[in-house]
Symmetry: C3
Subunit: 136 residues, 3 copies
């Protein structure tokens, strides 16, 4: 299990971590299987989406803010309830296929840490998992 | 890693792929573990939900459309920003248990490709992963 | 694959199952890898979020109810369409890292069964999966 430190720059930020995760996969020498990516935080998540046009990232951030406004009728005393709810919607982990020792992402896919209560340093855990060759 | 081609028929479509995934698991001869199902697209996802009553599928599609309308105030120039956001909410992959060489889905569960920007041909990657027997 | 029975107490309930999942991991003697947690239901899910302040759980439940109201314009005849939609948003499974034979959750993270159509007995399947040691 490798641990990466990722810096977010804004209160809500999607940070492209594809290259860092790819580095872990290469060093692991896992040839086929899945790469597990986990965020040990409750106000951050991880998502796969378009890495070509940055406007998609902005649209995702804005849509989540419309669905779960920062200033809502919340009970949590720390003032960041919306960040917890967004993290629950996006999810704490993702898996990406590993084929021939590399991440097998789609053409337009990147891996993004989603910080919903930044800016700050976040931890991302990465674990490549080998799958045995089968009859397929 | 097996690749399936799945045809969606509508602009938004949930396509039942349970049988195709089950076929990959059988051919893999994996007896216990998890079956990883991944969509290498940024405007499509994969979800588990009821396969008995097709109205559930319609309700999921309509609720997502109410939450993330196709015509919103988006910045992405290609006109399909809503599809990217829905894919981020639903997620790009799912895992299903494998028990005794078969998918161990609940009675009412099916596996659905979610196309949010169809109709078109979509790719689904399927990787059964063996878990070692343990003391449990 | 271990099966746990979890009782929910309310129509919508997030039940902390962290300790029960930790017990399965310990008994499995898996030292490093991931712990897969799966709910074989279509109106329940599983989520990771804050286990310290119970008000976060309440905020998540209320926010999901605002996004997907129980009384909506749904077509599913059983009256629980909202529960299906919430389950699709939250997801049917989660993975948690295993490091040195224990769940490697963040300081504030707990594992919660989300029942969206309770109260009732729910099943949770837990499968620890070993990852081979690599060069990292």
């Amino acid at each position: 299990m490798q641990s990466l430190t990722v810096k977010s720059r804004y209160s809500t930020d999607l940070v492209d971590i594809t290259r860092e995760v790819e580095g872990v996969v290469k060093r692991s020498r896992v040839e086929r299987g899945i790469c597990y990516i986990f965020v040990p935080h409750t106000t951050a998540g991880v998502v796969l989406n378009e890495n070509a046009d940055p406007s998609v990232r902005k649209d995702i951030i804005n849509a989540l803010e419309r669905l779960v406004p920062w200033e809502g009728p919340y009970t949590h005393g720390e003032g960041n309830a919306a960040a917890h709810i967004k993290a629950a919607l996006v999810g704490s982990s993702q898996n990406v296929p590993i084929v021939k020792g590399r991440l097998a992402l789609g053409t337009w896919q990147g891996i993004f840490l989603c910080d919903f209560d930044g800016p700050r340093d976040r931890q991302v855990m990465v674990q490549p998992i080998e799958a045995e060759a089968t009859d397929d």
